[in-house]
Amino acid sequence: MALLEITNLTVEFATAHGSLRAVDQVSLSLDAGDIVAIVGESGSGKSVAMLALMGLLPWTATITADQMSFDGKDLLTMNPKQRRAIIGKDISMIFQEPMTSLNPCFNVEYQISEVLAQHFGGRRRSYKHRVIELLEKVGIPAPETRLKAYPHQLSGGMSQRVMIAMMIACEPKLLIADEPTTALDVTIQAQILELLVELQKANGMALVLITHDMAVVAETADRVVVQYAGQQVEQRSVTELFNNPRHPYTQALLSALPEYAKEKTLNAIPGVVPGQLDRPVGCLFNPRCEHAQDLCRQQPPERSEGILCHYPLPLKSALNAASTSHTEVIT
């Protein structure tokens, strides 16, 4: 049985302009030891889907799903108390801004031992050795001297390490990292990503990495989910996705990267992600898609082989044979 099973998760927010569908029929299945990346532009519902899983959304959100279960327990029917016993212990989440997600009023030891005391009982003080051990594990030099440090005394990379230490304190089965390195320098980013993968391997936990950086995905993940305007448009293994993107949006995202540019002008995707009031009819990507046709502008596409598109790009192996017929379809 899969560790995490989400089918057709939909999140709607009640706003002044009516309801806003931030996440639209998202499905995700995870086994222990998997590394899955969720990519997409801002506003594509990556974080909201995971926050829904954590139960951290405000009351304006309506969460519906056919199934949302973790480790055999149904998250949909669970009461808040039962959920709190899981959140932070078996599922934990690292947020984007390490500087703002730590509480500035408490020192490092207090914040980490609080998690331990909450879930395993006992007094905070009794966990001092465990805290030192955790800080050592995440690569903080001389952890004893850092115990009494407050968040403002730590650099960005250090704060993120403290966050990670806090999140792995209870040895979670699933760790969700929401843009864990976006605010950090490249050298620190490399250290943090390496650390996450190391911990994931050592503890055999599942890791969900939310990011907008395709390069980070290529280097860390096994499987990729591409999200656009709340919908999953493609879900594949990382090598397949990078070598042979099937959804036009994935292809456009990849070819917008400076690394892939053959000339000075980059292949930008025209326009922006649609907002609440300007959602197009048919396929949500059609106004920005270079392959869009009449059908795309009228009817929303059905999912086939994990790809949400009327005219997915051809498989590379079949590419040579089918290239002529496909160009006919496009033109």
Partner: protein, 322 residues
């Protein structure tokens, strides 16, 4: 390429004085020591390094926000040390403009786009209202905004559009040099490509010189002609972009390049591990400032501070590069 360099910087230094307490002596923080370069019209100089390496200090010196402590800086043929205050504000502020990193913080939320773009013209030129409006509209069209946007407030725009407004504001005085401080790091990949394309087009059309400050090496590689790599306020490697990227000499440049993730699943690389973080600039390490994190460091590196030396196409500040 024009005959004289638009920016000529020679051995620029900037020290800040830090007060440590009432009875303690003041400390001096070396934010920038010894940056030299020439930048010609139509070219891009990229400044790369981790946060705290002096990139933004350099930008502040170039845009005349602050005065260098030592060294020589001339913009568009005018030496700043000899120029008087009037000449500086009259001529040079037209010549050099800046685009900031965060388009959400750099635009006044209480001003309409038209007012934001007009303000430099009101302060620096004698144009009347109609002429100003024409110039604003012309530039708005050029950067890809619509005429009706002129009456809108910044919060009504997306990040990419805001950055276009910021670019238009920088270009409205027809500068020759634009300092771009991480202009695309706050944007999504697809929007980043749109803004980079706009910047490249504008450069080709208007012959602008760019100083491009960034920590994203894949963007730098794409846009830059020259690269200046800095570490803790000191330049460590400098040269033509291709030379630096294809054959990095300084261990810090090598580490930076290998730390940058690549959108390529075929190549699993052996990464050069940089342990630790940037040391405090208040208390820089002795000798070569990179030695505590350098994997090739020898006993000599702890004592002797290397200077920039020419090695082939690039200049490098490292004792071990022969």
């Amino acid at each position: 390429m024009s005959e004289h360099a638009l920016i000529q910087a020679r051995d620029l230094h900037k020290y800040y004085t830090i007060k440590t307490g009432m009875f303690r002596p003041n400390q001096s923080l070396q934010a920038l020591s010894g940056a030299s370069f020439d930048l010609y019209a139509g070219q891009t100089l990229a400044v790369v390094g981790e946060s705290g390496c002096g990139k933004s200090t350099l930008a502040r010196l170039l845009t005349l926000i602050e005065q260098p402590t030592a060294g020589q800086l001339s913009l568009d043929g005018i030496d700043l040390a000899s120029a008087n205050e009037k000449e500086v504000s009259k001529k040079l502020r037209h010549t050099i403009q800046m685009v900031f990193q965060d388009p959400f913080g750099s635009l006044n939320p209480r001003q309409k786009v038209g007012d934001i773009l007009q303000e430099p013209l009101i302060i620096n030129t004698d144009l009347n209202a109609n002429q100003r409006r024409d110039r604003v509209l012309e530039l708005m069209r050029r950067v890809g905004l619509l005429d009706e946007h002129i009456h809108r407030y910044p919060h009504m725009f997306s990040g990419g559009q805001r950055q276009r407004i910021a670019i238009a504001r920088a270009l409205i005085l027809k500068p020759k040099i634009v300092v771009l401080d991480e202009p695309v790091s706050a944007l999504d990949v697809s929007i980043q490509a749109q803004v980079l394309n706009l910047l490249i087009e504008l450069q080709q059309e208007l012959g602008l010189a760019y100083v491009f400050i960034s920590h994203d090496l894949s963007v730098v590689r794409h846009i830059a002609d020259q690269v200046l790599v800095m570490y803790l306020g000191k330049p460590v490697e400098q040269g033509l972009s291709e030379a630096v990227f294809n054959n990095p000499q300084h261990p810090y440049t090598q580490a930076l390049l290998s730390a940058t993730p690549q959108a390529n699943t075929d190549r699993k690389r052996e990464r050069i591990r940089l342990t630790g973080e940037l040391p405090s600039p208040l208390n820089p390490p002795s000798g070569c400032s990179f030695h505590p994190r350098c994997q090739n460091a020898t006993a000599q590196c702890k004592i002797i501070a290397p200077v920039m030396e020419q090695h082939g196409d690039v200049s490098v500040a490292c004792l071990l590069v022969k």
